[in-house]
Every structure is written in structure tokens, then in C-alpha cells.
Subunit: 172 residues, 2 copies
Amino acid sequence: MSLRHALLGLLVDRTASGYDLLKLFDTSLAHVWPASQSQVYGELTKLAETGLVTVAAEGPRGRKDYALTEAGMAELRRWLGEVPAEQPARSEVQLRVFFLDLLTPQQRLAFLDQQAERAAAHHAELRQVLESEDWTEAGMLTSNGRLSLEFGLRFTAMSEEWARWAAKQITD
Amino acid sequence: MSLRHALLGLLVDRTASGYDLLKLFDTSLAHVWPASQSQVYGELTKLAETGLVTVAAEGPRGRKDYALTEAGMAELRRWLGEVPAEQPARSEVQLRVFFLDLLTPQQRLAFLDQQAERAAAHHAELRQVLESEDWTEAGMLTSNGRLSLEFGLRFTAMSEEWARWAAKQITD
DNA sequence: TGTTTCATGTAAGACGTTACATGATTGG
DNA sequence: CCAATCATGTAACGTCTTACATGAAACA
């Protein structure tokens, strides 16, 4: 139930509509916990029913401004205090690697090259975020966002290196 | 639909029952694409209905030995030839990092330390697999399995380093 | 006035998890 | 004969994706 907690977390220092939250997801949380429109609206309704958030105000086009309740804040803290369960790591790319020898040598190499390129592109994208963001501002990329971004940078760098290494391995 | 293709892939060089496949998942594919018992049996039934696999033989306790059909092999190759869609990376851990400042400084440090320990433990586990497996044997860990294992090793090493780095960052 | 942006909602279906349910065979 | 292992299946429930549907307000 991480989506629920992501929403609660985003509502800690602002009140927001589903529409606003959706944009926050697309910017700050996109690489960490993506969510679709229907999911966000659905979850907000449930959250309001449970009393973890309330509709603090209604705006122009049926806009509902949600605010975190005390119960919501308590739930968020409870979740953060929990020891997270180890989540099963699923990687379609690694699954393909398992069956790589069903491809021709050229195809294998092309696949790994492509993965390397992809990781490099993603890395560059994150680097741009790092350089463009104003880390002192109270946007959503606080110092914590910086930590998470660093993880992304390291992950993409590692992924590219691995793909290059793997390509070399299968060339022998 | 990766589960489907994982099953087809495992049936390339052996015929196997759902029970056998389940064990293969728990050993070789556990870290790449885990699957539950009900999922495996359900998918095999669908696969047989579609004609991608057939029941080649029936054994003792209602055991069904599945074999890959030509259509199944074709589908597997088609899938492997495809350019994989970039999959949304969800990480509960990184989501928690985003909201880390709702915890006390001690809790934050404890969380990151725990993550570092977890990554280190996972890394050690994979290293054991690397050292114990006989890579020349035709078990399921072929040279491809080696590539995938290397990814796991690098990923867990990177994760630990990141967590240690992050812990240092928040100490300042 | 017409296009863009804001804004919310629902429905169908795929995928995954956990739990329940059942029974045959093997080996000690 | 009893326990462990082999072996399959179903049902309920939660999550996520894609697509459909609708309309108000802002702005040019």
C-alpha cells in the first residue's frame, strides 16, 4: 500500500487536489513510485472515506483540495517507523538475459548495447535534474530528494557498466 | 506478460511439470522473476489452452509433464526479439527516503544502516551462489545466469555503498 | 468563440498475493 | 502406518494499466 503513503507524504506540507498530486507524481516521484491518474483519484476517495485526509476546500471546476488529517499523519509516521518488507525484485531485462542464448550473437550484442545506451540516457536525464534543481528551495526536491536522486545516478551508472561488461563477456 | 515467457524459456531444454517449474523459479529465477504456485499453475493452463505448450505425458499423482510446442518456441523468440518497454521502477525504500525527515535523526540513521546491512547480506548470499555453482554443468545457471548474477552482485554492492553514503550525508 | 488546461470520475481486464482445499505416492 | 513430499487446483482480494467519459474555466 505504498501509493496510499506516497499521497499522505505529499500532503504533509501542502494541501492539494488530485490533479496537483498527479503532477507531483509525474515530477518528483516519477522515478520512485509512478502512479496513474485513475489510481490517484481512486486512492484519494478511499483515503477520504477512511478519514486519513479531508476535503479542506472546494474550488472552481469541482476541484477538491485535500488536507492531511491527524489520523493521516499518524498513519504516515506508523508506516515510516515500520521495517519495510523485502520486496521481490522483478526485472524483465534480467529475465531476458537468462534466455539470451536463444538469440543470434549479433542480436545478443545489440540487446546489451541497447541496455547500456538506455541506462546512459537515463543517467544523463537524472544528471540534468540534479543540475537544474534549486536544492535550497522548498520545492519537492528537498535534501531527501537529493539522496534518492543519488541512488538513481548510481543505479544507472552501474547498469551501464554492467551492460558493457556483459557485452564484452559474450564476445569471447 | 513476462511470467508466460519465463515459463516458455524454462521449457526450452527440458519438459517439466508445474511442480518442477515452481522449483526452478525458486532456485534460478527467484531473484529475477519470482512467481507463486497459483500463478504458475494458472499460467500453464492458459499456455496449454493457447497451444504454446502441450501436456506431453501424465505421471503418478496427476502429474502433467509440459513440453514447449513450435508455436511456443516461436512466441518466445518473438518476445526476445522485441525491444523491451521501459518498465516503471518502483522502490518502496526510495519512497521512504523521500519522507525521511518525518523521522527522528536516530530513526533516519537506523533506517539507512538497516538498508546497508540488508544489501550486504543479499550480496553475500549471491556471492555464495557464485562460489557454489558449477558453471560448466548444464544446471540452469548457464553463462547467462552468470551475467544476471553479476548484475545482482553489482546492484547489491551499489546499494550498500549508497546507503552508507546517505547515512553520512544526513549526519552532517 | 474556440482551444487549452484544469479537474474528476468509472469500467474492464491483467497481474499478483495469500489462503484454502484436496489427494496420491514414497520412504522410513 | 505415518510423515514428508509430490502434485494440482480454486477463490478472494488488492494493485495497476488502459481506455472511456464528461465538463468547467481560462485565455487568446
